[in-house]
């Protein structure tokens, strides 16, 4: 009989130290050698990982009350504005925010040396961060200015809450125009001299459970070096499938996650400020998801290798900025990782934007945590909308 398991059974095995845990890379090999039925019967959990710039990231901070009290109307952390349109001493520091005196792209391409992502990295590194805040004064919050050096230990809560992370799949970006362009996909040289891609392919969490048979609200994950949770689907969650020429499903497309965790427990190795030349500041986030092998279906999807996962090739000089549909074809992650791909018969050098070695390290860490019984699976209270949910992207008109 085909193997079936529940979250509860797997967690029992984890507690007893008996669970068989392997990384998604290892599963790909195992299934190629021994088949899905065998792998499903042997393996309880498969771990995934990804590490790359994820702009839709940030942290809620409760900065604590001063004496006398101040209702913080404006907040700056190391000069980077944090959103404070919430309660008196709460603020949200977003990854892409930069200092008010940042030259931005006025000196093109702008360097965006220090932004919210760097503030977050400095905080988790235990560094002192300058907090400056102003208020307008109320009867209950009379103070109008406050400035101090703070560390993560000095403040009450710090909750990493990233509205859109772990993009399921991403385009392979090229630039067929005659001048270099600077994008969130890196520096793209003219005349399609390079092609940049950005997922960890066969290790990428959402490519391994494309039908959301196991991932949902409450899934416990690796986040920023510690434990986090899936809070909801991410923004722009479009869990559809790209089609090939014959209309068959080619590869999962655009599902995303919103994730949450305790920033105080995270590490600067897995939350690193990033500066995208000519584009902006960001935060590189380390994220990994354990996939329970509940049945053969789950196993089959989790076993998709780099040769079975595809990315669309998109022109970032024209089609992307002008929001024109269409692409220059599809390439497999195996081709992308080989270092060169063929576009219209021409060889183009490829480079990744997200770190495969770090993704592998995350999958390995998660595997060890589970093997040691330190990390139990979180059974979702609700699974996320899948490709049958009929979600369509809205566009701004005007």
């Amino acid at each position: 009989m085909a193997t079936e398991r529940t979250f509860r059974e797997i967690n029992e095995r984890i507690k007893q130290g008996k669970a068989v845990v392997i990384t998604a890379e290892e599963l790909v090999t195992l299934v190629k050698e021994k088949g899905v039925s065998y792998a499903t019967s042997e393996v309880d959990v498969v771990t995934t990982g990804t590490f790359g710039p994820m702009c839709s990231s940030g942290a809620f901070l409760n900065l604590g009350h001063s004496k006398p009290r101040i209702k913080m109307q404006k907040v700056w952390l190391n000069g980077v504005p944090a959103y404070s349109g919430i309660a008196a001493v709460d603020a949200y520091i977003g990854a892409t925010e930069v200092r008010e005196d940042d030259p931005l792209n006025s000196d093109y391409p702008g360097e965006f040396r220090y932004g919210g992502g760097h503030v977050i990295q400095d905080l988790v590194a235990g560094k002192k961060v300058n907090l400056r805040t102003t208020g307008y004064g109320t009867d209950c919050y009379p103070r109008r200015e406050f400035e101090a050096q703070i560390t993560l230990d000095d403040i009450n809560e710090a909750i990493l809450f990233n509205p859109r992370n772990a993009y399921q799949n991403y385009s392979c970006a090229v630039n067929p125009s005659s001048k270099t362009i600077h994008t969130y996909m890196g520096v793209l040289k003219s005349n399609m001299q390079n092609a940049h891609y950005s997922t960890s392919g066969q290790l990428s969490p959402l490519l391994k459970d494309p039908w959301f048979k196991t991932i949902g609200i409450g899934t416990r994950i690796f986040l920023g070096g510690s434990v986090g949770y899936v809070a909801w689907n991410g923004t722009q969650h479009f869990p559809s499938f790209m089609k090939d020429e014959s209309g068959q499903d080619l590869s999962p497309a655009g599902a995303t996650l919103s994730v949450i965790g305790d920033l105080k427990k995270m590490s600067p190795r897995w939350l690193a400020g990033a500066s995208m030349l000519g584009y902006g500041a960001s935060l590189s986030v380390g994220l990994g998801i354990p996939i329970p092998i509940l049945n053969e279906d789950v196993c089959r999807f989790a076993a998709a290798g780099d040769d079975e996962l595809f990315a669309p090739i998109i022109d970032y000089s024209q089609a992307f900025p002008e929001r024109e549909s269409g692409n220059l074809g599809h390439v497999s992650y195996a081709e992308l990782k080989s270092g060169t791909i063929k576009i219209n018969g021409r060889e183009v050098t490829t480079a990744p934007m997200s770190s495969y070695p770090r993704a592998r390290e995350i999958a390995g860490l998660l595997k060890t945590w589970i093997q040691k019984g330190e990390f139990l699976l979180g059974e979702p209270v609700e699974l996320l909308p899948d490709a049958n949910a009929g979600i369509n992207a809205n566009a701004l008109q005007g």
Binding site: Q193, S275, S284, S355, R358
Partner: protein, 133 residues
């Protein structure tokens, strides 16, 4: 005068000029080309040792025809604490000094191949490539 190590950068429209010949013939310099690289757009980078009496005049000549000349007392290093092996510098680096080691996908830096073009300094999102003087 002691030999001077310089890096030259020149664009397509001047890459067909007999620059080296002129340095040798008109300025009496001894040239030792250490690395040379021309990309598909015919933009070139060259690292060389120059020695002789008229180094400064020779460099003046190069600049006058539009060649970027930079003294190579500086060196590029990869800060391994900051590098996350993302790889996004590897297709930018014109000399192959930054490259991905397969199948592990770890990004390595071979300083011997570096032509000190500085492109990676800002292209690296982690600012892990640094100049050392």
């Amino acid at each position: 005068m002691a030999p001077k190590k310089v890096v030259l950068r020149f664009s397509a429209d001047i890459s067909d000029q007999p620059m080296i010949y002129k340095l040798v013939k008109d300025y009496n310099l001894v040239i030792n080309i250490l690395k040379a690289n021309v990309n598909p757009q015919m933009e070139g980078t060259m690292v060389m040792d120059i020695s002789g009496e008229n180094i400064e005049a020779g460099i003046e000549y190069l600049r006058s025809v539009g060649v970027g000349v930079q003294s190579l007392t500086e060196e590029i290093i990869q800060n391994e604490d900051k590098c996350v092996s993302c790889g996004s510098c590897t297709a930018i680096c014109p000399s192959g000094a930054l490259f991905i080691e397969r199948p592990d996908m770890i990004v390595r830096f071979d300083s011997d191949r570096c032509v000190v073009c500085h492109l990676c300094l800002k292209a690296c999102p982690m600012r892990a490539m640094e100049v050392r003087f």
